[in-house]
Symmetry: C2
Subunit: 429 residues, 2 copies
């Protein structure tokens, strides 16, 4: 791969904005300089300069990527009824081929909006890994563990065994990694939670689970366990800095303290929580307490899109109005929540731009009617930009997106394959 | 203008979706047919068919269009402090040329996102009208009336006089109309409100005003007037079906009843209310009571974008979560709130597709990764589509936007002129 110099651009490195120059070579960022007039030109390299913003590739820390197929089938319903509608469709349609094709459709949407890594939770995740390699995006595979046989046909014991196989297989993969992924406190027994925690520790991989999503769930849990989810999880020794709790909407003060103490990461999914009427997560308090907050999209069927920057925008606005305080969750904090913060539980220097980190980069134009003027780059990115402002997206230094086109796959063929699944679903709904 | 046949498309007419054919000629819709295989082809006309959705041109019922210039200058502040930061900049920069150029920049953004009409409230509105004619968008000019001399240099009396001139001048203009536009109950004395109501009645034009935006404003009003804003406005005889109340966030049950009784229209601006921490308008109750709710963007400086469909998406999600009820504010209702509903106080058959209405139309592609699959077209448009899905926008039958390009102006020149203002502001902030 050619050496690339991103010269004299406005750079967001995952924590702040500055004018500078970034050099990438062999898939890595090799230098970051605040010298605006860096003279590191060279003969055989690409130089990119102009009115661009360069950001780390964004990280979507909680999604169910093949659910692109079910986008719009279950509208205006609360979580429990939404699931009742989705589960039979999943039972009918989930297959290795389905997760490959419909997953790739979602990955294309992610990449077009500047996402270069995503943590998934679904079934047949190995095939999602294949699709991710093909399109060249980083996937954290989470084979969902539930008490009953999964749509993949596996029992919980088999799924746990399969998680170990996946972890072994992808140990040093440049794109694919693995998470232990129990579905939730209500669909995954403690026995399984504990086994998955062992695996998570052994392989040093994330423990990715839905937590405290709806009030119904939380009340039920308290009634059956005599305590709240995070209280019990602490007792079981499940919490640590590789713990990713998706949603975390309905929590007590005590639970927030537990989360802060164990340095867990929250994958906050505002669109899904709003659309399903689940509630407003206490993100402003979480941030104040130093809890690591990532913003994520959840699956396409409850959002109904995968634009992560739009999600961060929504998260910021939602906290401001819910606290009636426009000073909470500032633009830069919201940008961190889709870059450096979700990078923490994943390790591997993701979500930041620094020497030695992988060259996962997003190059953003600043001249559209929508984004311009850029007086405050954090605010411009968060509130005003859209995916059409993205000029190019790089994953491990390789250019994957340019002007909205995905360069790594045959887009027409993917469209054709995806449409076949869509037509089959259309007959069922 | 050539006759255009939009053949066998999925049509949203402002109230429901159906498969059908729309014919436009000489700037008007001449027929709407639910016959999917309409054979009204002809020799000398354009036929558009394929996997498109056709919607009415959307209507942004409350904005301050030249404030594109101040996008991002006043972040993370509550309304009162936000105004303190904006007012001096406005005093320094507002001029006929500024509103023309910066207004046109905003109009381009509106058009690109499918908006064909907007109700504005600002200063030097006649120049906004000039820009609107140049770019070919429908503007409802609202020259803001405040108690002190306006940035246009006019006293309130002069501004009221000027409103009459504007109303006379634009009586039968195909693009430009006028509203009486007192700023707010707190910046516009009752004497002026009453004079503007007379003008609104005489010319049958809207009465466009900010209402009950922040809790601070509402508490102050109650303390000084001994009653709430809508109670007092009813006493003064200001309310009718041409009344557009922007924001309407902090209202009592009694006020909601008054609003319903007088058939006023609410221009709900969720982004602005969220970002400034003003609160969540009681839209679900309003809809239940039959109040006409439009969704609008407010100005670019408090949003910070002018994408109306994104605003409707936000409005729907916000009501669902604030009521913890995903069944409120369904997708079709949200689409009405940016088409047929805002059309009502404007008259002139705007925001609907029907025979005899102006051919203000938006043609939307349905094949992007983002919008597809389209099982539920209302949900797909509302939650999944973006401005890059728009193929073309027509105003009075004239194609104004095609694949994101504005066809009616020299875009490079506009960019050059707008940049001059931006550089001047950059030196001040």
């Amino acid at each position: 791969m050619k050496k690339t110099i991103f010269k004299d651009l406005l750079i967001f490195d995952g924590s702040e904005f500055f004018k500078g120059t970034v050099v990438s070579e062999n898939g890595l960022v090799t230098s970051v300089s605040r010298n605006c007039h860096d003279s590191s030109d060279c003969d055989d390299c690409e130089v990119i300069s102009g009115n661009y913003i360069l950001t780390p590739g964004m990280i979507n820390l909680h999604t169910h990527i093949p659910m692109t197929l079910f986008k719009g089938v279950s509208e205006d319903l609360p979580l429990e009824k939404w699931l009742e509608r989705i589960f039979p469709l999943e039972a009918k349609f989930i297959s290795p081929e389905m997760v490959h094709i419909c997953g790739m459709w979602g990955m294309a949407e992610l990449l077009r909006s500047g996402v270069t890594s995503f943590a998934d939770m679904y079934f047949h995740e190995d095939f999602i890994g294949n699709a991710a390699k093909e399109i060249n995006i980083k996937a954290v595979l989470g084979e969902g563990v539930i008490n009953f046989p999964a749509p993949s046909g596996r029992s919980p014991e088999q799924t746990i065994e399969h998680t170990v196989e996946l972890a072994e297989k992808h140990r040093n993969d440049p794109l694919i990694s693995v998470a232990a992924a129990p579905h939730s406190p209500y669909l995954t027994d403690e026995l399984y939670l504990l086994k998955l925690k062992e695996i998570s520790d052994k392989y040093s991989i994330p423990f990715h689970i839905h937590m405290a999503e709806s009030q119904f769930e939380v009340t039920n849990y308290r009634n059956t366990h005599g305590k709240d989810e995070f209280e019990r999880f602490e007792e079981l020794g499940l919490l640590c800095d590789r713990f990713i709790g998706a949603h975390c909407v309905n929590l007590t003060d005590r639970e927030l303290e537990i989360m802060a103490r164990h340095k867990v990461t929250v994958a906050h999914c505002p669109s899904s929580n709003m659309k399903l009427g689940s509630g407003i997560a206490r993100v402003a308090e979480m941030l104040k307490m130093g809890i690591n907050v990532a913003v994520a999209t959840d699956g396409s069927a409850s959002n109904n899109n995968l634009n992560l920057l739009e999600e961060a925008e929504l998260a910021a606005k939602l906290q401001k109005v819910s606290k009636k305080d426009p000073t909470v969750f500032k633009s830069v904090e919201a940008l961190k929540s889709v870059t450096a913060n979700p990078g923490k539980p994943l390790g591997k220097d993701r979500g930041v731009i620094k020497a030695g980190a992988p060259a996962d980069l997003v190059l953003i134009k600043t001249d559209s009617y929508e984004i311009s003027p850029v007086y405050d780059p954090a605010s411009a990115l968060l509130y005003s930009s859209g995916h059409s402002d993205i000029k190019a997206v790089f994953v491990n230094g390789k250019k994957v997106v340019e002007n909205g086109r995905i360069l790594t796959i045959d887009e027409d063929n993917l469209r054709k394959e995806f449409s076949k699944f869509v037509e089959r679903v259309r007959k069922e709904i």
